[in-house]
């Protein structure tokens, strides 16, 4: 699969919620090759501190050669990214990794928490572009509060999905966690696409397993290269082996990886 290192111009950078930013860049080759669930490695700044690139899922992909990332400011790298201005140039490598398996034609659930919603937007758009009836699919989204969730939920509603939401503070949708909403839809779907904080994904994976619904998860782990070279991005596989998230993932079927504490 093709991969590119592109110096990209920033098209737009918008703060969509407190600490959450959407960054759009012109990256024609990466954009053209990307599939939902894949990620990019972004260089933050020019000096050697911070040193490593940061991994981000592709949030949206556009036919004009641009793509966008959705990220939360949590540390030094994301703080630098949040300060970018239109016209600035950033160095991005992608598209990387194995994205979602899109072969399921039956109704599916897209389940995302927090920034885990980022890759689901690209996924939702790609699914909607196909033959399927997305009105039969479900999108379950959770976040801290309505400020964070509302703008994201709108993306999916606009595509025609049935969207259900949950917030930690109850300011939008269900007051509580996403997995609480899963049981309701299990009878109507065959597969769950899931991305979010690890405890939530674990919960979703368990719930799916009990209901015998297939589940694809997109994992996060610390990455030095994103290219399969450093072997730093391991997580436990199913039977005591290790898998490399950047090449074998970031999307896995739940059964491919270990979920022990």
């Amino acid at each position: 699969m093709p991969e590119f290192q592109e110096k990209c111009h920033v098209h737009a950078i918008e703060q969509v919620a407190p600490d959450v930013f959407q960054l759009s860049v012109h990256a024609p080759r990466i954009s053209a090759a990307a599939t939902p669930g894949q990620f990019v490695m972004v260089r933050v700044g020019e000096g050697f501190d911070p040193l490593l690139r940061r991994p981000f899922s592709i949030h949206q992909q556009f036919a004009d050669g641009s793509l966008s990332l959705l990220f939360k400011k949590i540390g030094r790298g994301t703080t630098r990214l949040s300060r970018l201005n239109n016209g600035d140039v950033i160095d991005i490598i992608g598209p990387l990794g194995r994205g979602f398996d899109l072969s399921c034609q039956e109704p599916v659930g897209l389940v995302g928490g927090g920034m885990g919603i980022a890759p689901l937007a690209f996924l939702a758009k790609r699914l909607a572009a196909g033959e399927r009836e997305v009105a039969k699919d479900y999108v379950l989204l959770g976040a801290r509060d309505r400020h964070e969730l509302a703008p994201l939920a709108a993306v999916f509603t606009a595509l025609g999905y049935q969207v259900r939401t949950a917030t930690d503070d109850g300011s939008m949708g269900h007051h509580g966690f996403i997995p609480d909403l899963l049981a309701d839809i299990f009878s109507e779907i065959q597969l769950v696409y899931c991305c979010g904080p690890h405890p939530m994904m674990k919960n979703v994976v368990n719930t799916c397993a009990q209901a015998d619904v297939l589940c694809q998860v997109s994992l996060e782990t610390h990455m030095a290269c994103g290219l399969g070279a450093c072997l730093g991005c391991t997580v436990a596989g199913r039977d005591g082996n290790y898998v490399h998230v950047c090449r074998q993932g970031p999307v896995f079927y739940a059964g491919e990886v270990g979920w022990a504490e």
């Binding site: 290192q5 501190d49 782990t221 070279a229 072997l231 290790y242």
Partner: protein
């Protein structure tokens, strides 16, 4: 004739023992996978050489995660020498590398002198293998886990064993975690090494103050990146001043100026490591930048600047 053309006339060839490199810029072990990982991003056939991830006799699973963490201008890794083993390497990884017209240096490691011998022996004669780089920073299990690379006699014994096992050029990769690296370099030179490469990573550690846990599951790991460049350069200079075999400089090299510093200090070639992670374009940019540097310095050949540091 334009400047770019002038640059193209510049001779970048160097030799490490009997191994000829089209230019002195290789990629360092463990930072470039088995080459293929970078095939989309790098013109592999432009590199001076590719040093592959360290290979052991049998496959190794490596350490539990987390295995990497970022530090100031550097990173720590405790990969734990995960690799496919020498048979897996020959069967699965060498096949691709044989299609690339660039010298392949196989980095090898072992738990015992015998193991080093066996791997070296197995790789001797494998099509496409241009040299062996022997990682002696590994613990000697028979000597209570003391690293081979910290005791001159142990390092010499590994060198002699590998030397006997193969006709390939033998590069011994030195550990910087020693009081006197010159002693180590001399010991392996005397034991038959064709070249030395240095430095491997410095041993370091990082802690998450919030959880009070080490950031690496292995607690300690190897520090690499620009942070260590000054230490690497000092050691390369000391070693190059003391031995007569070629020295390969490694440690934090990102730019052509970095590479030039190592060449001036006496290195015949360099390996680019961690930079491949944050900038896969680095090795090719270094090659281009070397030409520009030599042109500006009015030098026809890179060999003219090796060891030409002015200390007077």
């Amino acid at each position: 004739m334009g400047r770019v053309d002038m640059c193209e006339d510049i001779d970048l060839q160097v030799r490490i023992g009997s191994l000829r490199l089209r230019n002195p810029v290789m990629t360092a072990s463990g930072t470039f996978g088995y080459g293929r990982e970078f095939a989309h991003l790098v013109h592999l056939q432009r590199l001076g050489g590719i040093v592959v991830k360290g290979i052991s006799l049998r496959p190794r699973p490596g350490n539990p995660p987390p295995r990497v963490c970022e530090t100031a201008c550097g990173m720590l890794n405790a990969i734990g020498l995960e690799n496919v083993g020498v048979e897996g390497f020959i069967a699965k990884k060498m096949v691709f590398l044989q299609t690339v017209n660039t010298p392949v240096v196989v980095n090898i490691l072992g738990d015992s002198v015998e193991e080093y011998y066996e791997i070296a022996h197995r790789l001797d004669g494998v099509d496409g293998v241009g040299a062996l780089e022997v990682n002696i920073s590994c613990p000697n299990v028979k000597k209570g886990g003391v690293a081979f690379g910290t005791v001159p006699e142990m390092a010499a014994r590994v060198t002699a064993a590998v030397r006997r096992a193969t006709r390939l050029p033998v590069i011994i990769k030195l550990s910087p975690n020693v009081t006197d690296i010159v002693l180590m370099a001399k010991a392996v030179e005397e034991a038959g090494a064709d070249a030395v490469s240095l430095i491997n990573t410095l041993i370091g550690m990082a802690i998450d103050s919030r959880t009070r846990k080490p950031r690496l599951a292995n607690i300690i790991g190897g520090l690499s990146g620009p942070a260590i460049k000054p230490v690497a350069l000092r050691m390369v200079w000391q070693v190059a001043s003391a031995v007569s075999i070629p020295v390969i400089g490694i440690g934090g090299i990102t730019t052509a100026e970095d590479a030039v510093e190592f060449l001036l200090a006496g290195a015949t070639a360099v390996e680019v490591g961690t930079a491949n992670f944050y900038d896969p374009a680095a090795p090719e940019q270094i090659i281009q930048g070397l030409k520009t540097y030599l042109y500006e310095q009015n030098e026809q050949s890179v060999r003219n600047i090796i060891g030409s540091l002015q200390t007077g």
